[in-house]
């Protein structure tokens, strides 16, 4: 293994993903080839529906791909079973979500300690770690509050502390500043940058927040499920809908349904969905 390969922490090859709503295909990723190196503060940028979250979910093992490979820390996460993925995430990946997603019935401290306990640490040890990380994200004094007693920014800091508490090698953050005001958002970006530099944790963030993009050590732009611009990646040529969403990948009953759905009705359904999403 070369030195260049050793530093590669995430690698995807020809990653395809298509969502189906009834008989209508919604292509999400068109053959993504991406390499993220250890210690990067990489940002996936692009408009809504460009495939940022889908890519992040596949890398995090929360979703499967239709085709291609996604190696994280040298292991193909797509070939793992659900239980294996859970274990892998617990050890190696921390998540920060747009909507914070804390467990409502647990206090801030317990939310952070929960993942440590899942890792096998004792309750006492887990609570100590939780206190440490809450101090680290500057809300140590709010540890006993429940999520609904915290502001959005404070909840996101708890989420960051939870993501870091297991000392993962990678943190995947999906629109972490989207629900925060600009000042709180900037504070969060500074915090993540500081942690990236001091702990050398790799950050892969999906965002269309200009402040986040500005802070990136590497910016990867996605459009319609393809990388269109990256400081390292070569933009890929556009691909056809049939190439990303081949009907043969669908179950037999779905294919049959597709065959018998009148095209006019399908177009009508599509228009309705488009108008709902716009």
């Amino acid at each position: 293994m070369s030195e260049a390969n050793q530093s590669t922490i995430i690698q995807t090859r020809d990653l395809h993903k298509c969502y189906w709503v009834g008989t209508m295909p919604y292509p999400a990723l068109h053959g993504i080839d991406l390499q993220i190196r250890s210690g990067e503060f990489a940002v996936l940028a692009g408009r809504s529906g460009s495939g940022k979250s889908t890519l992040l979910n596949i890398i995090g093992g929360l979703e499967s791909a239709d085709r291609g490979q996604a190696e994280v820390l040298g292991e193909d996460i797509l070939k793992m079973g659900n239980s294996q993925r859970s274990k892998f995430r617990l050890t190696n990946i921390g998540f920060i979500f747009q909507a914070y997603n804390l467990i409502r019935v647990l206090s801030a401290r317990e939310n952070v300690a929960y993942v440590c306990q899942l890792q096998g640490k004792s309750k006492q040890q887990s609570l100590e770690i939780a206190n440490h990380w809450l101090h680290e994200v500057e809300i140590g004094h709010l540890g006993y509050r429940r999520p609904d007693q915290l502001s959005g920014g404070q909840q996101q800091r708890v989420a960051v502390a939870r993501a870091l508490a297991t000392e993962p090698k990678i943190i995947l953050a999906d629109e972490p500043t989207a629900n925060l005001d600009s000042t709180t958002g900037r504070h969060l970006i500074e915090l993540m940058q500081r942690l990236n530099q001091t702990l050398e944790t790799t950050f892969l963030i999906s965002s269309h927040d200009p402040d986040v993009k500005q802070a990136a050590s590497r910016l990867i732009k996605l459009s319609d499920g393809q990388i269109v611009d990256s400081w390292d990646e070569i933009p890929q040529p556009p691909r056809s809908l049939e190439a990303t969403c081949p009907l043969r990948n669908r179950p037999f009953t779905e294919r049959l349904r597709h065959l018998f759905t009148p095209r006019r009705k399908a177009r009508q359904q599509n228009r309705q969905r488009t108008s709902r999403h716009s």
Partner: protein, 414 residues
Amino acid sequence: MVSRLGILTYVALAVRNLVRNRRRTIITLLTMMFGIATLTLLSALNDGWLSQMKTNFILSFTGHLQIHAKGFESSQNLRDNIADPEAISRFMDTYPEIIGWTQRIRTSGLASVSGSSSGVQIMATDPEQETWVTSMDQSVTSGVWLRPGMNKDLLLGKTVAQNLGAGLSDRVILMTQRPSGEMVSEVFYLRGIIETGAPQIDRTLALISLDGAQQWLQMEQAVTDIVIRADHHDQTDTLYRLFVQQLSEQVYEIMPWQELDPMVRQWLEFSDAYGLIILFVVILLVLTEILNTMLISLHERQKELGVMIAIGTQPHRIFLMLLFEAVLLIFVGAVLGYLSASLIVMLLAEGGIDLTGYANAFEFFYMDPVIHPQLTRDSAIKILLATLVAALLSGLYPAWKATRLSVSQALRIQ
């Protein structure tokens, strides 16, 4: 890596999740309580009157076990008698389970009082020994119990006395067949009226002393029944096995109380089956309610569960957590329901539920018109087990469904 999320963490999570939606939890608990309380009350009523029925049946007439000469129960003929009852009586002191026994002669006959007649079941017994076996002596509502040595004393069931128009001290002529087949009649004097609470006994009973009957019927020491009372209903089977081992089945027939009246046995079996049906229906209702609550809860918490899986919780732990939540909900509801029903049973046990208005409908089944509900260990175990099964069944499906959750879809829920 072994998770340290112990049982207490699951308890805490389950409790907090239940407390989070107080109104729904309270409504579900009330439903549970009502269901289990209803079940417990019905069970207590059933057990109460079944127990009364057993006791009435055993103490009013039959005892726990009867030994006859082979074929007597079907022939009811005095020729099928036990000629040497002492051979059996010697066993009585050796078994501590026996608290009383008596010898009887039983035959059918006719009673006449100044022109009116009625068919009767003539029963001759030892006045003292009988009091150790049945409560007939306490059922004398007017007059006195059989007096030792007074061979002309007669006691009649209340209804038969009314039918004959017989009063205390009246001459009553009893007529029956000797073992030889010879018809004989004898004058007796009515000394007491018996009301056992079992109308079929009160309608036919003519009670005389054993010594007098043996002389009258020329049976010497022979008897037709040896009636045994055990210390407790549950010891009947033990005694039955002991006597079966000791006595030749070619000569004797040994019958536990259940066999002496097939109707009573069938009624008891029917009541057990009926109790099980009620148990099944109530548990099914409870199960549906909890299943509904758990599915709604699962629907509301999809995102949270998705997050838990995303941050590394193994699906089987989610399964356990939800299952635990259902079990906890049912357990608390069941305990509250059982306790409230126990309280009601305690309050009703003393005075009982008066069904005098319906007594005629039940008279055939040795029921008292006042039912005293009672909670038995067997019923409590049955209810507890059924509740546990319901809890597991109602928790399994939502818990399994949670493990099949699409994490990415759950995370997209707003």
